[in-house]
């Protein structure tokens, strides 16, 4: 049986004023980009709490993309300063627990449809290369990725609740 190619699930949070506009523009300009992203429109990228990102990974996302306005262009004046602080922190934390590089932040203004397509394509390719999220793999209990180090106890249950 031929293995199905890995199609990552990517959750994307796009800010209403810039990145979502770019996505719209990419749509009306008929630009092609990978269908792996599931966009969620938020009013500002700063409304994306670390909770949302963690919940996404817990629920089986292979990657999370956050898009907001360029620094200085935020519709709410300083929203994206908050975004970058949180996302940078979270990236470091995820790196430490071994989920590094699966969270990406990009500033895309509503005129940058080309950049939007490029970012989405590159991020999708990167996640494809990284493979499925180790959390989903562990929860399916594939033997190759069983909790092997350190030695699990007999009753070590599948990882994700």
């Amino acid at each position: 049986m031929k293995a199905e190619p890995f199609e990552p699930k990517i959750l994307a949070f796009f800010c209403n004023w810039c990145t979502y506009g770019a996505a719209d523009l990419a749509g009306v300009s008929r630009l092609q980009y990978p269908p792996n992203v599931r966009p969620i429109r938020v009013m500002c990228s700063a409304t994306v709490s670390p909770h949302h990102v963690l919940r996404a990974f817990q629920s089986g996302a292979d990657g999370v993309l956050v898009g907001g306005c360029h620094v200085g262009d935020c519709h709410y004046i300083y929203g994206n300063y908050m975004t970058i602080k949180r996302i940078r922190f979270l990236q470091e934390l995820l790196e430490f627990v071994g989920l590094g590089e699966r969270l990406h932040l990009e500033w895309i203004s509503s005129a940058e449809a080309q950049k939007f397509v490029q970012v989405v394509t590159e991020f999708t390719l990167k996640i494809k290369e990284l493979g499925p999220s180790p959390l989903t793999v562990l929860s399916k209990g594939l033997p190759a990725m069983a909790l092997s180090s350190p030695p699990p106890r007999e009753n070590a249950r599948a990882a994700v609740g």
């Binding site: 670390p50 300083y78 627990v97 071994g98 909790l147």
Partner: protein, 264 residues
């Protein structure tokens, strides 16, 4: 030191002093006051660390304006500083009394709390709380996830790490939020439970180590929060408990004032 505390209590410069007394062979936190000055003889200083800061916050909540002394050290000061940044205690009401400063020649006589060494059975199962941040960073990506998932899935969801933490005081806790983490089930949703707590410890944790000692599952929580602290230090140059500003991850601009946690 006892004499000093006694005179403070007698003169009313201090309404009460929170220290330790031996009860049934255990060092138990005890409130000394003017009414029971004789008990001061039984004051002991070499006790394991208890969240005295939380007790202080509770007392000040029920009787604001009382002047309290508390037995403590540098960590206690930092914890109280974090609590006062977040409006939980008023700094002028609490005075930290460090036994090391009263009797410098006896320095070190005070038993500093340490996590006990893991025994052979624990080591065989890979339970080792002496690990450093470097040991984790030496693992590559997948092994790191496996390592942490192995640690996290031992969690019995006792909420002990949150309950004992001196700087955990929120009225509503994210760890009890239905939509974020499944509550009411026995299995802990990992890693979100621990990562949410780690995120919330950013800019708060003062590295007292009590969470790790309270964890019945031997999860190296302190290691995780240490890393969190060092990220905050690296990215924002903020050291928990030493600054009088709110941590950089809270909202820009206006100062955030959190409500007091109600006493049951």
């Amino acid at each position: 030191m006892r004499e000093q505390i006694r005179s403070w209590l007698e003169s009313g410069e201090m309404d009460a002093f929170l220290g330790f007394k031996e009860v049934e062979g255990h060092p138990i936190p005890h409130l000394f006051s003017k009414a029971n000055l004789a008990e001061l003889e039984g004051l002991i200083v070499n006790a394991p660390r208890y969240p005295l800061e939380t007790l202080v916050a509770e007392m000040l909540q029920s009787q604001p304006g009382m002047k309290l002394g508390v037995l403590g050290d540098e960590t206690t000061r930092r914890a109280l500083n974090v609590l006062s940044i977040w409006n939980q205690v008023s700094p002028e009401s609490v005075r930290v009394i460090d036994p090391d400063q009263f009797a410098p020649e006896e320095k070190g006589a005070r038993k500093v709390f340490r996590v006990s060494e893991p025994g052979p059975v624990k080591l065989e199962r890979g339970i080792d709380n002496r690990l450093g941040v470097d040991a984790i960073q030496a693992l590559d990506g997948d092994d790191r996830v496996r390592r942490w998932m192995y640690e996290f899935q031992k969690c019995i969801k006792c909420y002990g790490c949150r309950n004992i933490c001196p700087v955990c005081f929120c009225k509503e806790c994210s760890l009890e939020h239905q939509d974020l983490i499944s509550t009411g089930t026995v299995l802990t949703e990992v890693p979100i439970f621990h990562l949410v707590r780690a995120v919330h410890m950013a800019g708060r944790c003062i590295d007292c180590g009590m969470c790790e000692q309270a964890c019945p599952a031997d999860i190296p929580l302190r290691l995780l929060y240490r890393k969190v602290n060092s990220i905050v230090m690296e990215l924002f140059d903020y050291e928990n408990g030493l600054s009088s500003d709110q941590p950089p991850l809270s909202v820009l601009g206006e100062k955030v004032v959190l409500e007091l946690k109600p006493i049951h």
